[in-house]
């Protein structure tokens, strides 16, 4: 389980933005969770509860936005999901596949007071 480390990094980003804006508390943290980011929402949620204790985000809500995985083909430039995750373009059969979105965990936005 590497979610604790990732949530700590997400919170560091959130704290940084909140402080720079002169906020006192964070009331909501919105994370976007890529389908293939390799994190479990339950573990994210658990880590968030533990790591926000005693911080400016102690009372913050966590909102998770799911982002489906989308690939694109270098040859034909189509975009598509790949349910079996094998790097073959369903359109032209090409093997040069790019990861477009849905592969990372992002801090989308925060709400502060």
């Amino acid at each position: 389980m590497h979610e604790v480390g990732l949530v700590q990094q997400a919170l560091d980003i959130a704290f940084d933005y909140a402080r720079r804006s002169g906020a006192e508390t964070i009331s909501l943290v919105r994370l976007s969770i890529g389908e293939l980011s390799g994190v479990e929402p339950d573990a994210i949620s658990f880590s968030f509860g533990v790591l926000t204790e005693g911080t400016m985000a102690a009372k913050a809500q966590l909102e998770m936005v799911n982002v489906p995985a989308v690939y694109s083909c270098n040859a034909c430039e189509r975009e598509f999901p790949l349910p079996d995750r094998l790097p073959v373009c369903p359109n032209c059969g090409g093997n040069s596949i790019l990861e477009k979105e849905g592969f990372d965990l992002r801090v989308k936005s925060i709400e502060v007071t």
Binding site: M1, G38, L86, P87, V88, V107, E111
Partner: protein, 221 residues
């Protein structure tokens, strides 16, 4: 006096792994500046990463200057196994962490002299899931499987195999005994890692190891 001010929204849109990526990019620059080839070896526990490294280091000894960073949850057993071939070996014990990240590599680099080095081999934590998504700054990712694991591992862990530059099938010497199906194994790797250069070898008997080492040498700067 603070009242019940309505919350303000701050848009951020920042990737959490962005910090790892920055650090990985810096590592990559250091490797390039020093002219050292860096490879990241990933596999399940027990596929034979350390055994392959032992025999690889033995073949490079006296000809190519190598260093190794080895990651495990606990013990320095691997570092001890790998010492004695003239290569600097740095063990990272990750505690509970399931993969190496770029920052751990950066810290380990303080114990390694990159100048004059031909190859830096990073042996990742035995795990086919988490190491796939953490760039360390390496030039090449290597995925290792063995004949005892079943032929379809690459299809079960596609995100790792989709990223590897080379795939190594180890323990080829006991393939027959364990009922390993070569055609099925090649089919799985062809599907999951069509981009990868394939090697079949036995780290124990040395079969196929020369081809692997020759290829690695060809990748050095």
């Amino acid at each position: 006096m603070t009242t019940h001010a309505s919350p303000r929204v701050i848009a951020i849109e920042e990737a959490v792994q962005g910090k790892n990526q920055e650090r990985a990019d810096r590592n990559r620059q250091m490797f390039h500046d020093a002219g050292v080839l860096t490879i990241n070896m990933m596999s399940s526990p027990g596929s034979g990463k350390t055994a392959l490294l032992e025999t690889t280091l033995a073949r490079f000894e006296g000809r190519k200057k190598a260093a190794v960073i080895v990651g495990d949850l606990a013990t320095d057993n691997d570092a001890q196994r790998l010492s004695g071939h003239g290569a600097e070996v740095v063990q990272i014990t990750t505690g509970g962490y399931c993969h190496l990240d770029a920052d751990m590599i950066a810290r380990a680099l303080s114990g390694i002299g990159l100048q004059g080095l031909d190859i830096l081999i990073i042996e990742n934590v035995g795990n086919l899931v988490c190491p796939a998504t953490f760039d360390l700054g390496e030039d090449l990712k290597i995925g290792l499987v063995s004949t005892t694991e079943g032929e379809d591992k690459p299809l079960k862990y596609p995100s790792l195999f989709a990223r590897v530059d080379a795939a190594v099938i180890n323990k080829i010497d006991i393939g027959e005994i364990v009922g390993w199906d070569r055609a099925a194994a090649h089919f799985a790797l062809g599907k999951a890692a069509p981009q990868a250069k394939l090697f079949e070898l036995s780290a124990r008997t040395g079969q196929g190891v020369d081809e692997w080492c020759t290829w690695l040498e060809g990748q050095m700067h």
